[in-house]
Symmetry: C2
Subunit: 356 residues, 2 copies
DNA sequence: TTGTATGCGTTATCAG
DNA sequence: CTGATAACGCATACAA
């Protein structure tokens, strides 16, 4: 490129000193209107853009916000990222996106390397076995603010924005119970993730309150992806007695359950009811449409970003833990077993489809 | 944070000059092994990270690759981004992600501002009405390399990586024709996008070859999102005669078609067949499972990134236009009208999935 | 109110 | 081979 225009050239063109140019750009001192206009004109006509590198070096801070995500390919995350980007953009910040692949090492690498860009702040969705907390603790006495999203890493004492996981799982399970299911199975996420644990807790609380108890092997741990959901479901659906309903702790795993159900020649919801968590965009288009706990991804993103921006602006309150409400979206993947509640229709179908 | 450790501290600790430290870090001159080790040790024990800001300022180039995307929330893009990130990461580059929201102004803003971070290269999926080409032309005599993805902006003469749009649309349409459909409708993307045009061309070529002609109003232009697909489909499904098949030029719009179909009390594929384009992850889970042209998002990303990295390394060949192959995935959203062509088998399958 | 000068942390040039 | 030293482009303390 035609070597980028610098402040010096603006200064020459406007016939002022380089310091004055800086002052009008940053509003850091009063400048006579006449000069100010000359500077502004020069900037416009030369198409000047301040070097973020030089500025960042000097100020020891850039307008970058680093966002660390396990895997942008997980369909829950893009909405969050988008929410973040929208408020960051409006606040004048740019987003650097890092995929950790759920690898704590890669996360750690990014945390280290990106630090040298002097970002204004961090937004992180921790990797599955993140040791973020310890790493940050050791390096950051008064580093840029960090807010965690979606999951709370062990030992993490800082800000967190997530969804009401326990409550969501509770309402999902309660729904299953109300529909007459008693043989309930659950496919959890990795249990060192707080959100996975919370969802399991919600499930168990609903069970306990209804005085329903289940076999321990009805609780299967998987990895929040379709593949592992499929495997867990396959195990579950081969058990005797077969569970009549499966709560998959995210929609990706619910898809796996759906797949396993079909492959075993079973039908949802006649043979097995399924409820998911996340309510991804496609949940209403699956066959049958998936009943799922809605998670407001975009709002999570905007909320987290706003919190971060406040911190960047110097807000020094005590760490916040913001839990956004979730909401059960009832669709067609849950059958009604108790003839009492809604009419006998599904009961009959149930019998008709009894396979082995 | 404890003020970040600098080269100067490394130099002191290793008892060498600051220049020597730089040399061992960059391998820019031979250093006596003894000293080299002392430096390396100092780096390790102090946890030194070179300042990317200072380095970028000095070298006039950073290890940043800026990726510009219309909307990360469009489920086709995350895979592309992921592909990019994977190869960029391995090549030592970091990704800055910018959402333009399909707004050419925002795109232009990003192009301008991010330039001041001296990125090593650009990867851009142009906004709907991008004027990228002219903007870049005017500012970049020998700026960092740019490769376009998925869409080719008007006037763009540089590298492009995309999918074989025409061929994909052709095969989709051919499939519809083979299944006996003659009343074919198409919902295109915005026709100032090359990919939308290409897909329409493929559709029309298949029609022409089969000597089938359709009413002009069977060609509806929409905006590649669900909403506009829904609207276009609603118009289409109210026409007389009603089209027996709709080719939606992406899956998001196909979802809109599905929705419209249901709302009008019609059934897919009995009343109307649908084929999409993209083959998003959820296509096999919709009701009915969507027949769609598969687009290898991840590979598009890796291919584009590799091309960019080559350019960054100085590869100076003439501009490349790489079209990756697409492939029609046949599922259950297309009904067979002519009992003659393929055997009754697919007809039966259609029926089996009537559950909804 | 405006100009001058220093330094941010590197790399790169040039002597030694 | 190694060590000074001058930029890189900007913000800022200080002088005028």
């Amino acid at each position: 490129m035609n070597p980028p225009v610098t402040m010096r050239q603006i200064a020459e063109r406007a016939e002022v000193s380089i310091g004055t140019v800086s002052h009008v750009i940053n509003g850091t001192a009063k400048v006579r209107e006449k000069l100010r206009q000359r500077v502004l004109d020069a900037i416009r006509s030369l198409g000047y853009q301040p070097s973020q590198l030089a500025r960042g070096l000097r100020r020891n801070q850039t307008n970058i916000v680093v966002m660390i995500v396990p895997d942008i390919t997980n369909p829950f995350f893009p909405a969050v990222v988008r929410g973040v980007e929208d408020v960051a953009y409006k606040g004048g910040f740019r987003l650097v996106l890092c995929n950790t692949d759920n690898d704590a090492q890669k996360e750690s690498f990014y945390l280290n390397e990106m630090r040298s860009y002097r970002p204004a702040g961090w937004l992180v969705i921790p990797a599955t076995d993140s040791h973020m907390a310890t790493q940050l603790k050791s390096s950051a006495i008064a580093g840029p603010p960090v807010v965690c999203i979606d999951r709370q890493p062990p030992d993490w004492k800082g800000d967190v924005v997530l969804v009401a996981n326990e409550a969501g799982a509770y309402s999902a399970t309660q729904h299953l119970l109300r529909m007459g299911h008693r043989q309930l199975a659950v496919i959890t996420g990795p249990l060192h993730l707080t959100n996975a644990v919370e969802r399991l807790k919600g499930f168990e609380r609903a069970l306990a309150e209804a005085k329903v108890s289940i076999e321990p092997e009805y609780i299967q741990e998987a990895r929040f992806n379709r593949q592992s959901g499929y495997q867990a479901a396959t195990r579950l659906l081969r058990m005797l007695p077969r569970p009549t309903a499966i709560f998959a702790c995210n929609d990706l795993m619910a898809m796996g359950v759906l797949l396993a159900t079909r492959e075993l020649g079973l039908h949802c919801p006649e043979d097995v009811s399924i409820v998911g968590f996340d309510d991804l965009d496609f949940a209403e288009f699956t066959a049958p449409a998936l009943t799922s706990v809605h998670q407001p991804g975009y709002q999570i993103g905007t909320t987290a970003a706003r919190l971060l921006l406040d911190r960047i602006d110097g807000s020094r309150g005590s760490p916040q833990k913001i839990a956004l409400p979730s909401e059960l979206k009832i669709r067609h993947s849950v059958a009604c077993l108790s003839p009492t509640v809604p009419p006998a229709r599904s009961k009959r179908r149930e019998a008709a489809f009894e396979i082995r």
